[in-house]
């Protein structure tokens, strides 16, 4: 793939599971559909404060359930649960 700005070849890199194309000339970055959102989600995860360490006496949290290969990365986007459209989705055909 050629850089749309300077026409130098672009190389693909994997950043935390997101494929990004970077130009070898001007260092510009090209994102495919959905990749900006994936990076934004990653950033939101990093900026969340680390949870306090659980006291040793408590049992470990249950293991996360199995998910398909195409499942949402990084534990999902549960911030949308209060979204009206989320409730609508659960209740419609």
């Amino acid at each position: 793939m050629q850089c749309p700005k300077c026409r130098a070849p672009m190389h693909t890199y994997n950043r935390n599971g997101v494929q990004i194309e970077q130009c070898s000339g001007c260092r510009g970055i090209f994102l495919d559909y959905g990749e900006l959102e994936a990076l934004t989600r990653l950033e939101a995860q990093w900026s969340q404060p680390a949870p306090p360490a659980a006291p040793q006496a408590y049992p470990a949290a249950p293991p996360a359930p199995a998910a398909p290969a195409w499942g949402a990365p990084h534990g999902g986007h549960y911030g949308h649960r209060r979204h009206k459209s989320f409730g609508h989705m659960l209740f419609s055909s």
């Binding site: 649960r81 989320f86 409730g87 209740f91």
Partner: protein
């Protein structure tokens, strides 16, 4: 909306009232009454303790009768229809049901996941009566894709949805028989298909339109798809799945990874959901919202991963 739609709604409301009061009824009365749904494939009105449903115009009367008889026999799983004879209204078959209290759509966190899973497991373990038609889940998925192609061919989100659809085997689009072992299935399970009977009768399933024999994992595939889209909490999905397994549900093995069995139906329901969301957004002339975008993103991921060759096979 067809031009005769509002007369249909008015007449359906009058019939519900007449059945509720067991006499022709026109005067205003203090009963709770409401339009519960108003679509070409299902107009539903309530009057007091009675619900009247006008089914789709193309509903096969014989198939609908077989589905109603099945619901009548499964009183511990389905709301049984009222004995009032089914009729016809402006070319649409009309059936009558007792009113049940639905799940509160404003409190999805209070959804009865365990009772829902137990009802589905019980349904799937019930031998299908002879002559019952096929479950219509795959047909509904295919119809949603057909509508998407017709109504939103140029929407940017249509491409990943159609690519995801192309990963699916023919049976998932009702173009080949479903793989066995087949079971008695609801065919269109979501949280709107659960009601509590008044008087503490417990939860029951409603809506027999898609009921039939089929691949039982289809009934688990909406919650599975919501989880895979990153929208349903892992904890709630785990509760639903555990309750289904505890109740002896046959759609997935009792232990181990259920996804070899769920993958194809969950892909199909993700595509169906995305297709309907896009068509709706286009119809309303608005961009996709965040939740809708999550479902389209899941379609893009589906398109990049090959589907299992058959239920139970590893991808």
């Amino acid at each position: 909306m067809p031009p005769d739609h509002h007369p249909l709604l008015r007449e359906l409301t009058a019939r519900a009232a007449a059945v509720a009061h067991q006499v022709p009824h026109t005067a205003p009365c203090p009963c709770a009454a409401a339009t519960l749904a108003d679509r070409p494939d299902g107009t539903v009105v309530r009057h007091g303790d009675t619900v009247a449903k006008a089914h789709a115009r193309d509903a096969d009367p014989g198939e609908l009768r077989a589905r109603m008889e099945t619901a009548s026999r499964l009183g511990d799983t389905f709301v049984a229809p009222l004995s009032h004879p089914s009729t016809d209204l402006r070319g649409r078959p009309v059936t009558f049901w007792p009113y049940g209290i639905p799940v509160d759509p404003d409190a999805p966190e209070a959804a009865p996941w365990e009772p829902a899973a137990t009802l589905l497991a019980r349904l799937h373990r019930t031998p299908a009566p002879p002559g019952l038609p096929g479950m219509r889940g795959p047909l509904n998925a295919a119809r949603a894709v057909t509508r998407l192609r017709a109504e939103a061919p140029d929407h940017p989100a249509t491409t990943p949805v159609l690519k995801a659809w192309s990963t699916l085997p023919a049976w998932a689009g009702a173009e080949a028989p479903m793989p066995g072992p087949l079971a008695l299935c609801h065919g269109d399970f979501h949280l709107g298909q659960l009601v509590r009977l008044p008087g503490g009768g417990g939860w029951r399933l409603i809506d027999v339109d898609d009921l039939g024999t089929g691949h039982p994992a289809w009934d688990l595939a909406r919650p599975a798809a919501w989880f895979a889209c990153g929208l349903l909490h892992a904890e709630e999905w785990a509760r639903f799945l555990a309750a289904y397994r505890n109740a002896g549900g046959p759609a997935v093995p009792a232990a181990g990874d259920p996804w070899p069995y769920l993958d194809i139906p969950a892909r199909a329901l993700t595509v169906q959901t995305a297709a309907r969301m896009i068509a709706k957004a286009v119809g309303e002339g608005r961009p996709l919202d965040e939740v809708e975008t999550c479902v389209v993103d899941a379609c893009a991921r589906i398109a990049s991963v090959e589907a299992p060759a058959a239920p139970g096979a590893q991808a």
